[in-house]
Amino acid sequence: MIGVFHPGTSVVHRAPALLKLALLAAFVTATALVVSLPWLGAASVVVALLFLVARVPARAALRQIVPILWLLAFAMPVQVLFGGWEAAGVMALRLVIAVALAAVYTLTTPVSATLDAMQTLLRPLRRWIDADRVGLALALAIRCVPLLADLVREVMEARKARGSEGSLLSLAVPVIVRSLRTAEHLGEALTARGFDD
């Protein structure tokens, strides 16, 4: 979800996030209900067409989908053994279709559009849920992933430079301390930008 957005002007890009989310849910549900291989094959073709229409570079698309293929490489033999070829094929296609659809969505939809869509969805519940706040929390959660990754990398490098590799404590302590400091700074920055309630 982080930094995978691929800007473009295709229909898939321009479709409202809410519509895309609804279609995504409907399509994934439908494939979960269908048990015939030919139908799932047809669905795969539709998904492949979506990628073509969205003009997402093949490399970016593959990066999203390859991990699930690895998983299947292990899960398939077991399925074949217990449920036969057909059941294994159905399961595999369903999974690949679901992941590929999710990939089309994240590759063509900026995070802020997803946040907006979610706020629209939450609006009927506004008496109980502050949609702005939920959106902000989500945005921060997404932001924290690269922030934490950078932090761990820096601490590892510093550890290496000081020759104290190996000890888990020498990784955990600075990472936790610096995470807390980063959280504090992020909070201050939000306050300074007027998000202080």
Binding site: G3, F5, P110, S112, A139, L140, R143, A192, R193, D196
Partner: protein, 226 residues
């Protein structure tokens, strides 16, 4: 009533007195603050938008008491931090700039125009859809500036905005500062950044020890640390 006023301001963290009875009336367009590490510069700067509350005295921004009307003050004061990484919230450059305007409840087209203008001003148009966390240090600082200035604050406070930048990017930021219409308060150890400012304040052990035009104040600071 425009300007920043410190009235007998002190601050301590626990037992340690960090800012000691500072009174200042800042009306100049460009004000620099210098001083040794730990002399209280950041603490003083943070008081301008209420990130730190004084333990004695008061701070007024455009006549508003910062501790009482922090919300209103923050709408007038934009704050730029040293480490832009901590200031970035949204995943892409454009989204981060737009994020500031969320609270302003502008209509969509209006907000988009302002975001585009801010991006163009800081040379970020090309990078608009890039992941914000993968920008270079200098680009991140430009993004931080764009995200602050898109809200059009009347006063900009920057705490060592060029410390993490190379000479070229530091000059670039300095140039943007020179073109700024807003009142500007900059804390810096890079004295050349403050040379064409209107006024420079020198801090030492929480006190103001010099307060003059840059030529005189920076000279006093150089003597102090040599």
């Amino acid at each position: 009533m425009s300007g920043i006023v410190f009235e007998g301001v002190s601050h301590d963290f626990g037992a340690e007195r960090v800012v000691e009875d500072v009174s200042l009336d800042l009306r100049e367009r460009r004000v620099g603050i210098v001083g040794a590490n730990g002399s209280g510069k950041s603490t003083l700067a943070r008081m301008i938008n209420g990130l730190v509350a004084p333990t004695a005295g008061r701070v007024l921004v455009d006549g508003l008491d910062v501790s009482r009307e922090a919300r209103a003050v923050r709408r007038r004061v934009g704050f730029v931090f040293t480490n832009a990484d901590n200031q970035i919230v949204m995943p892409t450059v454009r989204e981060d700039v737009a994020f500031t305007l969320r609270r302003h409840r502008l209509d969509r087209a209006d907000a988009a125009t302002r975001v585009d203008a801010a991006l163009a001003r800081f040379g970020l148009t090309e990078l608009a859809d890039r992941p914000a966390h993968r920008l270079s240090g200098g680009q991140k600082q430009l993004l931080a500036l764009a995200s602050v200035l898109v809200a059009e604050p009347g006063i900009v406070v920057a705490d060592e905005p060029t410390t993490l930048l190379d000479a070229r990017n530091a000059r670039r930021i300095a140039r943007y500062f020179a073109d700024l219409d807003q009142q500007l308060v900059v804390v810096s150890h890079q004295l050349e950044l403050l040379e064409d400012f209107d006024r420079v304040i020198v801090m030492e052990h929480g006190r103001v020890v010099a307060d003059d035009v840059p030529g005189v104040a920076l000279e006093a600071y150089r003597t102090l640390i040599s």
